[in-house]
Symmetry: C3
Subunit: 319 residues, 3 copies
C-alpha cells in the first residue's frame, strides 16, 4: 500500500503545497525512512529532528524549522491526532477466507485451522483445531499451537515454541489520539510481534502488536497464563512471567527477569537483567538488574519487608 502525500494530507486536513511524493508507511523520527511519514508530538524528542530521514513530518509551527532541508514539514497544532488519522491509510486489510500455507516437512495441521495469505510454516509444526493464522504469519519448526490460538497478520513465531489455547498474539496495541471533545481516535497499529525460539506462552494471554516496529518476546522466555504484554515491549531472553502479569507499552525487560503473579510495570521503563519482581508488585520507574523488588510502588525487597514490619508496628502503637 502506497499513497501520495497529497492524498494523505488532504484526507487528514493538513496543508501541503509542493512536489508530491509517495509515502509507504509511518514511523518514529529516528526510524522513519525517506519514503515514510513521521510525527513530532513530544518535545523530549526535539534533538532527533535534525537527523530524521523521514520524507515528511507532522509538526507544530514552532519546531518545524528544526527539520533537515530534505524533510517536508506538515505544520499542524494537532500532530498526534493527524498521525492517528494518517495511520488508517496503512492499516492491513482484513478479509475472511482461508488460503493454503507453505508447509515444511511433517507438519500436522488440523482441517479447521484458518490461514491468511502467504503463511509459512517450518518443519514438524503442529496446529490443533480452531487456530487462526493471519496474512504473512510465519511459524518456525517444531512449534506447537494448542487449540483456539489466534495469530494476527505479520506475527512471527520462532522454532520449538509452545502456545497455549486462547492466546492472542498480534492484537492491536492500545493507542489513541484525543479530540478536543474528548473522543478517542484510533492509531492503527501497523507494527507486528516477533516471538523468538524456545518460547512458551500460557493460555488466554494477549500480546499486542507494535504501533510501529516490533513487540519482542525473546528467546527462551516462558510466560504463564492470562498475561498482558502491551505494544512495543521487549521481553528479554529467558525471562519468566507468572500468571496475570501486565506490562504497559514500550517497556523493556532484560534477560532472566522474573515477574511474580499479578505484578505489573508502567510503560516506557526498563527492568534490568536478572531482576526479580515479587508477586503483585507494581513497577513505576526503571529498576536496576540483579536485585529483588516488591510492593507498589516497587522498592527493594528487604526495604519492603522492613516497611511491612513498621506498618505492623503502627498497629501496636509503636512509632
Amino acid at each position: 500500500m502506497t499513497y501520495t502525500l497529497s492524498q494523505i494530507t488532504e484526507d487528514i486536513g493538513v496543508d501541503f503545497h509542493g512536489e508530491d511524493i509517495t509515502i509507504e508507511g509511518i514511523h518514529t523520527l529516528s526510524e522513519a525512512t525517506s519514503t515514510q511519514l513521521s510525527f513530532f508530538t513530544d518535545s523530549k524528542y526535539a534533538s532527533q529532528l535534525a537527523d530524521t530521514k523521514a520524507a515528511a513530518v507532522l509538526i507544530d509551527e514552532k519546531h518545524a524549522g528544526l527539520l533537515p532541508s530534505g524533510t517536508i514539514a506538515l505544520v499542524t497544532d494537532e500532530a498526534y491526532l493527524k498521525l492517528a488519522l494518517a495511520s488508517k491509510f496503512f492499516a492491513h486489510k482484513l478479509e475472511s477466507g482461508t488460503s493454503e500455507p507453505t508447509l515444511g516437512k511433517g507438519c500436522d495441521i488440523d482441517k479447521s485451522v484458518s490461514f491468511g495469505k502467504n503463511v509459512t510454516l517450518g518443519d514438524h509444526v503442529v496446529i490443533l483445531p480452531g487456530c487462526y493464522l493471519g496474512d504473512n504469519v510465519t511459524v518456525g519448526s517444531g512449534t506447537l499451537l494448542h487449540p483456539n490460538v489466534t495469530l494476527y497478520h505479520h506475527t512471527k513465531i520462532g522454532s520449538e515454541c509452545i502456545i497455549h489455547s486462547g492466546t492472542v498474539i498480534g492484537c492491536d496495541g492500545y493507542g489513541f489520539a484525543h479530540t478536543k471533545l474528548g473522543e478517542h481516535v484510533k492509531i492503527y497499529q501497523n507494527g507486528n510481534v516477533v516471538v523468538e525460539d524456545d518460547v512458551e506462552i500460557g493460555a488466554n494471554c494477549a500480546i499486542d502488536r507494535a504501533v510501529f516496529g516490533t513487540t519482542y518476546i525473546r528467546k527462551g522466555t516462558k510466560l504463564d497464563n492470562l498475561i498482558q504484554i502491551a505494544h512495543n515491549c521487549d521481553v528479554g531472553e529467558h525471562t519468566l512471567c507468572a500468571a496475570q502479569v501486565g506490562l504497559a507499552g514500550s517497556t523493556t525487560l532484560g534477560r532472566n527477569v522474573v515477574m511474580g503473579g499479578q505484578s505489573a510495570t508502567a510503560g516506557h521503563l526498563e527492568v534490568g537483567a536478572f531482576a526479580t519482581i515479587a508477586g503483585k508488585g507494581g513497577v513505576t520507574k526503571s529498576l536496576e538488574g540483579g536485585k529483588t523488588y516488591a510492593g507498589f510502588p516497587a522498592i527493594d525487597h528487604k526495604m519492603w519487608l522492613r516497611l511491612q514490619a513498621k506498618m505492623m508496628g503502627l498497629l501496636k502503637g509503636k512509632k
Copy 2:
C-alpha cells in the same frame, strides 16, 4: 417463554392461592411490569414496594403488606433463593447449529462463523474465522470482529466497533443465591449487553450480561485486553480502561473516565465523569468526577503520593 404463576410457584415451593396469571419475566421492583415477577430481598428498597407495578413479588411476611393492592405477595423467608429458582424458567434455551443471519450490504463473513437464530448484521460488517454470534444478536454497520470472538444471545453491538480475538460478550454475570447448607444456586442472567457505536474492545475480555436489564458499554469507549466488566455495569461514553481492569457488578463509570492497568472497582458504586484511577488502584466507594485517584483503597492522588512519602519516612525513623 411465558408461564403461569402457579407453574412457577409450585416448582419453587412458594404458596400461591388465587386467580392464576401469566408471567413473562423477572425484573427489579422498580422496573418490573404488570406481567413480570419481582422480589424484595434488601430492606433499603422498601420505599419501592408501594410503587411497584410487578404482577407478583417474592417477599417476607413482614413487608408483604407494603405492596400495592394489585400486586400478589408471594410470602417466603427465602426470597433470594426462590428468585434464583424462578430465574431458571426464563433462561434462554441454547442449541447447537448455525442459521443464516440477515445481512446488510457488502459484509465479509467467514464460512466458519456460527450464527444463532435471528441474527442481524448491518452493512460492511467483517467477521473473521471462529466467531460465534448467538440468537438475536445484532451488529451495526462497519463493525469488525477479529477471529474467535464470542457474542452470547441478545448481545447488541453498535456501528464502527472493533472487537479483538478471544473476547466474550454477554457471558453470564456472577450471581448466586445461597442455601443454608452453603450451596450456591444460580440466578439465571436473563438480561443482555449493549455495546454502543465506535467502541473498541481488546483481546480476551469478558463482559457479562445483566441479570435483568442491560450491561452498557457506551459510545466511543475503548477497552484494552483482559478486562472484566461485571453484570449491570454502565461504562460511560469515551471511557478508557487499560489492560486487566476489573469492574464489579452494577458499577457506573461516567463519561471520559480513565482507569489504569490492573485497577478495579467494587460493585454498586459510581465513578464520576472525567475521573482518573491510577494503575493498580482499587475503588471501594463512589468517587467524584474530574479528579485523579490512586492506591487501594483509592484516595486523592496527591494524598496518595504524600502517604507514600510518609511511609518511606517510617523506614528512616521519622514519625
Copy 3:
C-alpha cells in the same frame, strides 16, 4: 507409553548400571508406584525417602543412602533438571483430527466441535460451536459448554456444570527446571484436571493440569471470569472466586472459601474452610478458616481496617 529405565537414563545423561526395568510414569516420592520414576530435590522431603515405593529416584549422592533397598538411586547433582528432561518421555502426544465421542442420551453437540480420541459424554450434554475436547476427556450429564471452550486431554468434567466461552481447562502448569546458563527446561505436565459436579466456570479462565496427579475444582464451586488456577491446586467445595483471582501452584482452598476480585494466593499454602479474602488481597501464608482477611500481605480484616486508619492518621501528622 512405557520405557525402560536405561532408555530414559541414557537420554537424560544419568548413570544407571543394573538390571533394566520398565518405567510407566513419574510421580512424587510419596505417590510413586513401583513402576514409576521419582525425584528428590528438596531436603524437606527427606523423611519420605525411606518409605517411597518408587522404582527409581533421581537424587543427590548425599541422600541416596536413605532410599529403601528396592529402589534404584539415580545419582545426580541436578535432579530437578534431570526430572524435567525425563518428563518429556511421558508427555501426551498431540495430534490433529477429530474422532467420534461416546455419547449419552439426548446430547446436542455442534458439528464444529473437535474431539480427540476416546472422549465420553454423559446424557443431555450440550456443546456449542468451536469447542475442543482432547483425548480421553469425560463430561458428565447435563453439562453445558459455551462456544470456544478448550478442554485439554484427560480433563474430567462432572455433571450439571456450566463452562463459559474462552475458558481453557487442562493447559500446562508453569513448571521449569533451570540450567546453569539460565535457560528453562520444561517439566512436562502429565497430570490432569478434575472438575466435579455442579461447578460453574466463567469466561476466559485458565485452569492448569497438574504436573503429577490432579488439579481439583470441587463440587458446587463457582468461578467468575478471567481466573487463574495453577497446577495441583485443590479448590474446595462450594467455593466462590470473583473475577481475576489467581491461585499459585499447589494451594488448597477449603470448602466455602470466598475470594474477592483480583485477590490471589502464593503457592503451597492452605486457606481454611469458610475463610473470606477481600478483593485485591494477597495471601502469602496459610490462613485459618472461618475468618475474613484483607490487604497484601493479607491480614485479619479488622486489623487491616485499623491499619488503613493509622495510615490516614500519618497524613494528618498523628503518630
